[in-house]
Symmetry: C2
Subunit: 435 residues, 2 copies
């Protein structure tokens, strides 16, 4: 008999089915034994009132996480999780597990300290509530690609070993490249801009590396960046319109494909407004003064408190979990940022706040060769390390812009996780480089 995934069992009531998976839980109550089998997609409960049925398991001394095959008759049972259970069992151990697990997987909640959970992520990630996070990650990537693929974007893969630590100058990991120094890319920013000259519309899903010596709940040193860049834009508002489509596409994908995972995680997905409200940086500072009596005018950036205030305002005023703040001061943005032609000192850039926390950064970039030479000089950078980057602009680039979403940050905020590490399969931080 061919196996079926546990998620399809409810379509086979009254029939014999075969499942394969892990012995997720085992509970004996008097003469009745309840088993829960977990496969790659879900779980199913099986019930036996006959010890002989379970002999192949018991003979192997099989404990929790034993890999097994199980045949049974699908029976509707309102008390059972999912409304069905398997009875009249025939079970076979495939890989018996006889040793104790490093942490208990069979409880509804995974009770373990963060260090234990991360030390044993290899096993902890099997827990349905952990696995659900990473299933959402996979679907978020798929939703991201679907929105962009439908709009003529090409996926690219750009090098992660780079010649110089150019973009921000510091916080890069250095490696030994055949006896010479090289670095790990902090972002695909330069390459994705260069590739606008090739494909016009590009995106990349890949790792980025930040040697930031911060030990916070919101930092890891390697993460997955969803990067977008495209040409022939009007200004940063063209980019923001695409951000809205991407967010809407990701959320609808999660809603359509991950109902079970979202329910398990008790996540409340936001609604994407038809148009995400936006406010200029300078007006946002005025608003904070009016509403909260705190004068942050003249500050070059928003504080976390400012962002929370603005998020609350967007919720009150527009009923929106999302808010674009536009026009951040040029002084706090990277050298390739396009200034606002009408308001010197402010930029054609934006942050997207989600529930009062920054989620996405983007904007229009410079596109004229002369502007790059001037910007580098203003920033005090030498031009030599930027030689190839500059070549793209010397050879003609259209007005363009883009944005980046940190995949783990997105999940953390959507799922209201207390630590970014919980949105990362195998996190890298100051003290952790394994598993």
């Amino acid at each position: 008999m061919d196996r079926i995934p546990t998620t399809q069992i409810k379509e086979h009531i009254g029939q014999r089915v075969r499942v394969q998976g892990w012995l997720h839980a085992l509970r004996r109550m008097g003469g009745v034994t309840f088993l829960v089998v977990r496969d790659g997609w879900g779980t199913v409960q099986a019930v036996s009132e006959d010890e002989a049925e379970l002999a192949p398991l018991l003979a192997a001394g099989a404990g929790l996480e034993t890999v097994l095959a199980l045949e049974g008759t699908v029976t509707a049972e309102a008390q059972a999780p999912g409304g069905v259970e398997l009875r009249q069992l025939a079970v076979a151990a495939i890989t018996p597990v006889t040793e104790a697990l490093p942490l208990p997987l069979h409880k509804r909640q995974l009770k373990a300290s963060l260090p234990t959970l991360l030390d044993h992520a290899v096993v902890a990630n099997r827990h349905p509530a952990r696995r659900a996070v990473f299933r959402l990650a996979a679907e978020a990537m798929a939703g991201f690609r679907a929105v962009l693929g439908a709009r003529g974007f090409s996926e690219i893969q750009t090098p992660k070993i780079v010649a110089s630590a150019t973009e921000s100058g510091s916080n890069v990991f250095q490696l030994d490249y055949f006896g010479r120094p090289a670095y790990l890319a902090q972002s695909p920013q330069f390459y994705k801009q260069i590739m606008v000259g090739v494909f016009e519309r590009v995106f990349e899903v890949g790792p980025v590396f930040r040697a930031e010596p911060h030990d916070t709940t919101r930092h890891v040193n390697e993460y997955v960046s969803l990067d977008v860049e495209f040409g022939f834009i009007e200004n940063h508002f063209t980019v923001m319109a695409l951000v809205r489509e991407v967010i809407a596409g990701i959320l609808s994908r999660l809603e359509n494909n991950c109902a079970a995972e979202l329910a398990l995680l008790e996540a409340r997905l936001p609604v994407t407004p038809a148009a995400i409200p936006h406010i200029h940086f300078a007006e946002a500072q005025e608003l904070i003064l009016q509403r909260h009596g705190v004068d942050v005018r003249g500050e070059p950036d928003l504080s976390p408190q400012d962002e929370r205030w603005l998020g609350a305002w967007a919720q009150e005023q527009h009923g929106s979990d999302f808010l674009f703040v536009t026009g951040y001061p040029m002084v706090k943005r990277p050298f390739y940022t396009h200034p606002d032609p009408g308001r010197p000192g402010y930029s054609n850039s934006f942050d997207l706040l989600f529930r009062g926390v920054e989620l996405i950064t983007g904007g229009q970039r410079l596109h004229r060769y002369g502007d790059y030479l001037a910007a580098l000089e203003r920033a005090g950078y030498p031009t030599a390390p930027f030689e190839s980057y500059l070549e793209a602009f010397r050879c003609g680039m259209p007005p363009h812009g883009g944005f980046a979403i940190g995949l783990e940050r997105l999940l953390m905020q959507l799922l209201e996780l207390p630590n970014l590490r919980l949105a990362t399969l195998f996190p890298r931080d100051l003290s952790r480089v394994a598993p």
Copy 2:
């Protein structure tokens, strides 16, 4: 007027349209000027017999690769590339280019030495024949994901910074991780196996890093690996059946979505046989003795010449560009390889040869904890660096296997490119870490 992509122009005969792109070519013949405009997807020819029409370009001193907007009337013209051209032009320069290009992009063939082409990849990749390769790369990734997504596989992103150089011991890049040594992952092998314990069926598309000091046409030091791993297999033949589906899915995606690119590159896509023929390693060596009088029996691996002979045999005997060679000797396979239970010394592994060259390697892996302990001891490895990997097996893993495809290798072989670097956007090799 909204712009349309050049690839849609032929649907608008008789209408005014607006395109945006780069001035790809410019040719004056008497009083007639031919322009070719290239956008992110294709090119279109435009014709002017009126100098005044082109004044906005000429006034800007605009040369090739100038970014421009062009309106014109779509006219059927059998002589024009694609059968249509634009007339009655209105042109505007968006970003004028006034400097000479580092290499000529306007010829049908990109004539440049390999070093020139790689030094100026930022611009060279704009050439239609270069760009076509990378469009195929994007579509190959999409085809790969589509096949696996439809079969219940989850996409994962595993860390590229790892704690120890475990898999092959050498040829790894070392980096400075906050003052301690760490390494770049040579493959996601261990993580993808671990994730079989979570999702059963996983795949990853991501960079891998090999510090191999080889300067050949078939090596680069960073490439994109398409990795697959899945559980509850019978043996390596289950894996080979999936390889066939993946290859078929990628090829049909390329055929359906990349007709223009394939024509431009004069590529001949292979047909995927309903069942790819297979031959055991030992029988392959016997066959070589019979057909070619060369006795390679006892050799632990196939030479490139052996592979070419076997490829020719598959073509003659089975009319197939593809051939699986199964059962490679255990001595030449990594420690996690599952042996053939019936033929000690041989393994449950395979290579897929394509036109007589190895394209994919895969097989069944060990899945029992005790087998891993024995295999590590046999290989003379300490167990400490494998602690987390071993934990997955101690906690129950099903029979599983998988394979990996080098994206650039796939493109090189499909397109019969003379050098792997030509299938890589920005290649990394012994002497090259930029652009």
